[in-house]
């Protein structure tokens, strides 16, 4: 117990006087995870809207929804492995030289967040009460205005999808360690650093990063809570 208290004390000291390494790891994590999530939102929200509102390509839409639901539970290491095989020197995209770079880590995060963002946003959009859509039509909304109205009505569910995506990318370690390589000062993120430092028995940095990750998650969850409470109606 005494040892844990000592380590915690050192971790807090690290947080109060962060080293350049710690700051670099946090910044890279935010860039990679944020970039992946933003890209997932940019691709996932229109995809969700297409799946929810299009009256064409019924079979394609059904297959896509099932695929998204399936990939929501995809183990990150499998995504990492697939990307690794595609981008390794002997792989079909090996010439791009993307393996062990922050870009490919962001791509991995994008692939992991996309199914969550798209599937949960789609669920939120199709759950909008039909009488609301009919009311919008009867008040003279054009097809585009109806889509906008439905997205507005589904905003809390969409935000929940984005939060779920954020949670996944922030906690991700399996895929980014495979495609990023956990290179110090270049592709080391908070989660991969925690895994490495724990292996080394150097718990101060691991705990400091763990506290930071929890703090970020807490802030995001509180933001979400207040946003949802503002819109609570029952």
């Amino acid at each position: 117990m005494h040892y844990i208290i000592l380590v915690l004390k050192d971790a807090l000291s690290l947080l109060l006087h962060p080293s350049r390494e710690l700051i670099g790891v946090v910044v890279l994590s935010m860039l990679v995870s944020g970039g992946g999530l933003i890209a997932a939102a940019i691709a996932g929200l229109p995809l969700a809207a297409f799946l929810a509102f299009s009256t064409r390509f019924a079979h394609l839409r059904t297959v896509t929804v099932h695929l998204l639901n399936t990939f929501m539970g995809m183990p990150p290491v499998v995504a990492g492995l697939a990307l690794y095989l595609l981008l390794s020197r002997s792989g079909p995209f090996g010439v791009l030289g993307l393996l062990y770079t922050p870009s490919i880590m962001a791509l991995a995060q994008f692939l992991l967040a996309l199914p969550l963002v798209a599937a949960l946003s789609h669920s939120a959009m199709v759950a909008v009460r039909p009488e609301v859509i009919l009311a919008a039509r009867s008040l003279g909304a054009s097809p585009f205005q109806r889509v906008r109205t439905v997205i507005y009505e589904a905003r809390y569910g969409i935000i929940a999808g984005l939060m779920a995506g954020f949670g996944r990318v922030m906690a991700e370690v399996g895929a980014v360690i495979i495609v990023g390589g956990n290179i110090k000062g270049y592709t080391r993120t908070m989660t991969t650093a925690i895994a490495l430092e724990t292996d080394k028995g150097d718990f101060e940095l691991a705990i400091a990063l763990g506290i930071l990750l929890l703090a970020i998650s807490l802030v995001m969850n509180f933001s979400m809570y207040f946003f949802q409470r503002k819109g609570k109606y029952q």
């Binding site: 009488e131 859509i133 009919l134 039509r137 008040l139 054009s142 507005y152 009505e153």
Partner: protein, 215 residues
């Protein structure tokens, strides 16, 4: 001056025939009370007249010609249908009331002024900043009415606007409709003969897929 509306040989079937060849000429600025048993096709008729659905056969004619397409936005924005379910948006009372105006490109300040005016006509102006989905069912229906009044439709369809409301809310809605009399064409459905006689210039009966005038 409201639009004139004529229907010619209007037919619609779902699992069974609902409307079987209806012909009628609605005069501008008059109030029509539509009665008929449950399942007679009143809601179906409203959806066809409000251009939300296509008939299987026949024509809905507004002013100059038949409406064959449902996306005639200019025409659709001159009419509206108030549904039995209020279908309120999850935002403030004021934003709900201003919704149709904003769709039509009315500026924020003007939309607010007109929306508050419409809310006042149903006694809800003091709840403008409240979230719409916290309203009681009677207030919700009044807000749905205000939302429609705000856009000043030339033809206003109301599908059982006071069904399952208490006398107080019913009276507020009836008063709001009476105040629109002569300025807009109103076609409302009701099961209440007293209400039909109070509000309607003409009472219509829809039964067995046919429409007829009463009295």
């Amino acid at each position: 001056m409201s639009l004139s509306l004529r229907i010619e040989d209007l037919r619609k079937s779902y699992a069974r025939p609902v409307l079987g060849g209806i012909n009628y000429q609605f005069m501008p600025d008059r109030v029509y009370a539509l009665m008929g048993p449950n399942g007679a096709g009143k809601s179906t008729l409203f959806r066809l007249l409000a251009l939300l659905e296509k008939p299987d056969h026949g024509r809905v004619i507004y002013e100059n010609g038949p409406v064959d397409i449902l996306d005639d936005m200019n025409l659709r924005r001159r009419i509206t249908l108030l549904l039995p379910e209020s279908g309120l948006f999850n935002t403030t009372v004021l934003a709900n009331a201003a919704y149709g105006l904003r769709l039509r490109g009315v500026g924020r300040a003007e939309a607010k002024r007109l929306a508050v005016e419409a809310l006042a006509s149903v006694g809800l102006e003091h709840k403008a900043d409240q979230r719409a989905l916290t309203l009681s069912s009677g207030e919700s229906q009044r807000l749905a009415l205000a939302r429609a009044i705000a856009i000043r439709p030339e033809v206003f369809f109301l599908d059982e606007p006071t069904a399952s409301l208490d006398p107080e809310n019913r009276e507020i809605i009836e008063e709001a409709l009476l105040s629109m009399r002569g300025r807009t064409g109103i076609i409302l459905s009701t099961h209440d003969r007293t209400q039909a006689e109070k509000l309607g210039d003409v009472i219509l009966m829809l039964k067995d897929g046919k429409l007829s005038e009463e009295g």
